[in-house]
């Protein structure tokens, strides 16, 4: 019957297509290495998940693969492989892998904020360190401290530090006729008040008038005095020396302290800087001098640029102006707080072959390889013993730059870190980012006290919600 032949044809087609697909991609056999436990004596695979931070650029991939080859040639029973995931998709892929039961053996390099988002996921490395008597004294203090959770769990071994300092545009200072900022970390006259003064003198409008002059035209600014636009709210607030340093809550995480007096002072300083003194760019101006690279300094739009070591890259050597780095200023209390980050590699608790992962991790951050890792990721090595060697590398890469600033700044990294975990950290950080965004885009000067009171209430609501169910 006609329907029968129809049946036949349809099922034949279905079967044919299934056969076709099964035969099709012969070049890609399913890889089951991660789900099956290898028989004893065979190679154990350590997959290193790269993408939570930097490390996914093609040049970095080549360098990482070379590092893996080096490891594999000296280790018979462990095979190291880098798994590269572009940053924008890294979080969902990581979470998918974890829920599928195939967590990677190592994840990194991760900043404090990222490792904090998955805080409960990481294996506590304290027991491993004790078991092997692993010597952590060679690591800088902040590098270890920043990667301990509130209950003392050590979630990873540090790779590098990213201290912050200022980059300054020498041409802009020449054009204003002012002396360059000091390079002396002990010069106590270099305060935030002095920064404001200097920044105003260096801010230049289209007619060559600086921000201190009476004919200054704020609608036509060509060079801004100061900028910290790669920093978020907590970056901006941490340097003002509040008791909780970079954390917007009390130590028990129950009360929000966004409107701490030091933070109010600080936010008011920034708001005045943008809307009254005009030496910092507002949101619109920022998107004008920052044409989708997100880089106001390299195009010459900013005279003093606060950033971290990750800003330094190969292409900085050919900028159309001369530049150098210098210490960031003392704050209004006479303290030096230079917000910094520390990157770690961590081991997910649900991963298989954690011992092999631990071996691989130790190898990656040993004295020889930590230098290579930091070259790839643009950080300052977390080991004190290799500082000399790294300094040589830096001076080769950036001739004429005062690289000692990088090392000195590492001493002042904020330990109650500006990226540290708080309950529902993603939501809280988003609320703070929104507050900063209001500051920068609403077209007029703000009363920092009322803005922060409002923000504080929002954060407190989140904290209350969290503690209601925990």
């Amino acid at each position: 019957m006609k329907t029968k032949s129809l049946w036949l044809i349809a099922s034949l087609i279905l079967i044919a297509s299934m056969i076709l697909t099964a035969c099709g991609p012969k070049t890609t056999p399913p890889s089951a290495g991660e789900t099956q436990a290898p028989p004893a004596g065979e190679k154990v695979k350590v997959t290193i998940f790269i993408g939570m931070g930097t490390g996914t650029d093609p040049e970095q991939i080549t360098a990482e693969n070379a590092l893996a080859a080096k490891f594999n040639s000296t280790h018979d029973n462990i095979e190291m492989e880098f798994l590269i995931v572009p940053y924008e998709q890294s979080r969902e892929k990581f979470q998918a892998m974890v829920s599928g039961g195939t967590a990677p053996q190592l994840v990194g390099p991760m900043g404090v904020e990222t490792s904090g988002q998955f805080q409960d996921l990481w294996e506590d490395l304290g027991p491993y360190i004790q078991r092997d008597n692993y010597d952590t004294s060679d690591f800088y203090g902040p590098a270890i401290e920043l990667n301990k959770t509130a209950d003392g769990k050590n979630i990873g071994l540090p790779v590098g530090l990213y201290p912050s300092f200022i980059f300054y545009n020498k041409n802009a200072f020449d054009a204003a006729g002012i002396a360059y900022p000091t390079h002396d970390f002990n010069d106590k006259t270099w305060t935030l008040a002095k920064l404001r003064e200097v920044a105003m003198q260096v801010t230049m409008d289209a007619n060559g008038k600086n921000a201190t002059s009476s004919d200054f035209d704020p609608a036509n600014i060509v060079t801004y005095g100061f900028d910290d636009s790669w920093g978020n709210f907590r970056d901006w607030a941490v340097i003002w020396g509040a008791p909780n340093v970079g954390r917007p809550t009390t130590a028990d995480f129950k009360t929000a302290t966004v409107n701490a007096p030091e933070w109010v002072t600080g936010i008011q300083w920034y708001s005045d800087a943008i809307w009254v003194d005009h030496f910092m760019a507002d949101g619109t101006a920022l998107s004008a001098i920052d044409p989708a690279n997100g880089d106001p300094f390299a195009v010459g739009g900013v005279a003093i640029w606060k950033s971290h070591t990750w800003y330094m890259g190969d292409s900085l050597n050919d900028l159309p102006f001369k530049w150098d780095i210098a210490p960031a200023p003392y704050n209004q209390k006479g303290e030096q707080i230079f917000n910094g980050d520390a990157d770690v590699f961590a081991i997910p608790a649900s991963a298989k072959n954690k011992d092999a992962a631990w071996e691989a991790l130790k190898w990656l951050v040993n004295e020889e390889n930590i230098l290579e890792m930091c070259k790839i990721y643009g950080c300052m090595p977390a080991r004190k013993s290799v500082a000399e060697t790294y300094n040589t590398t830096l001076t080769e890469m950036y001739p004429g730059i005062d690289t000692s600033v990088v090392f000195s700044a590492a001493n002042f990294i904020d330990v109650s870190n500006h990226e540290g975990w708080v309950p529902d950290v993603g939501r809280v950080n988003e609320i703070l980012a929104n507050a900063l965004s209001k500051l920068m885009t609403e077209g007029e000067n703000h009363d920092a006290q009322s803005l922060l009171d409002e923000t504080n209430a929002e954060v407190q609501a989140i904290l209350d919600e969290y503690w209601a169910s925990h």
């Binding site: 329907t3 129809l6 924008e88 969902e92 988002q117 998107s287 939501r427 965004s437 209001k438």
Partner: protein, 326 residues
Amino acid sequence: MKNPRLRLSLRQKEALSGYLFISPWIVGFLIFTIGPMIASLYYSFTDYDIISPPRWNNFANYKKIFSGILPAILNQDSSRLGDPIFWQSLKVTLTYAVMALPLGLIFGFFLAVLLNQKVPGVNIWRTIYFLPSVIAGVAVALLWGRIFNPRVGILNPIIEAIFHVKGPGWLGDPHWAVPALVLMGLWGVGGGMIIYLAGLQGVPTDLYDAAKVDGANMFQRFWHVTLPMMTPVIFYNLVLGMIGTFQYFTEVYVLTSGGSGGLGGPVRSTLFYNLYLYENAFRYNQMGYAATMAWILFVIVLVLTLLVFRSSEYWVFYEGQLKGKD
């Protein structure tokens, strides 16, 4: 011996054939689609941070979203809203949809009509207009970031030259960020033009000839022949365009990934619904809440689609439409 065979009526045979033909989709649906959909519906009733198993929380997620609506509508009092950010994201998405959908439909259609004429070099014109929709998303985002630059981008100097008005801050300005995205989307309108072209090509020329013989001029031919014959295609673009604009995500994610204000743009002015959903799912460890948002959007879009389908009886003309259901 007579084999007792199942005697199917003609109608039943037709139905069986119909089901047979759509069986590939049904099989695929059962294997790949229905499981994840039901799983996500389940998630919407849980707290789920992906790391640990989902924890049933009744309707807590739904309550959070819908609480405080009445005071907000009746007394303009938005302080009692359970999640004001949710409503902001819905507002942003609706604003975008209301702008992008009609503009996209109209521009796409008229572009196709223009490109359907036998002007010299029409193949080259079509290729040029098609070009933007082929370029990879990440390159498009980087390009348009520069074009929208308020001071030295390409757009504002042109605006100043022609209209003598200072151009807006585009992506950096909360009021102009969404229009900027609409503009960026219109650049790629040539992609959908193909469908219109295919539709226009399918209008049999003997209809035009008959119309000409009846004395119809260009506009009358357009109105009485082209437009009605194109309604099936317009309907397609309307439905899918609507579904698409409500789920707008990729372009705005790449563009605002690093800007001021974080993922939602300045003062959350480009915090699209799907973007907020994504944040909840993968940044805030709240996949349950994200699933709730997903299903609320599902209901909204489903209702709108049903309305459009209902209305199609009045304005969509199929030459080969089956009358009667079963």
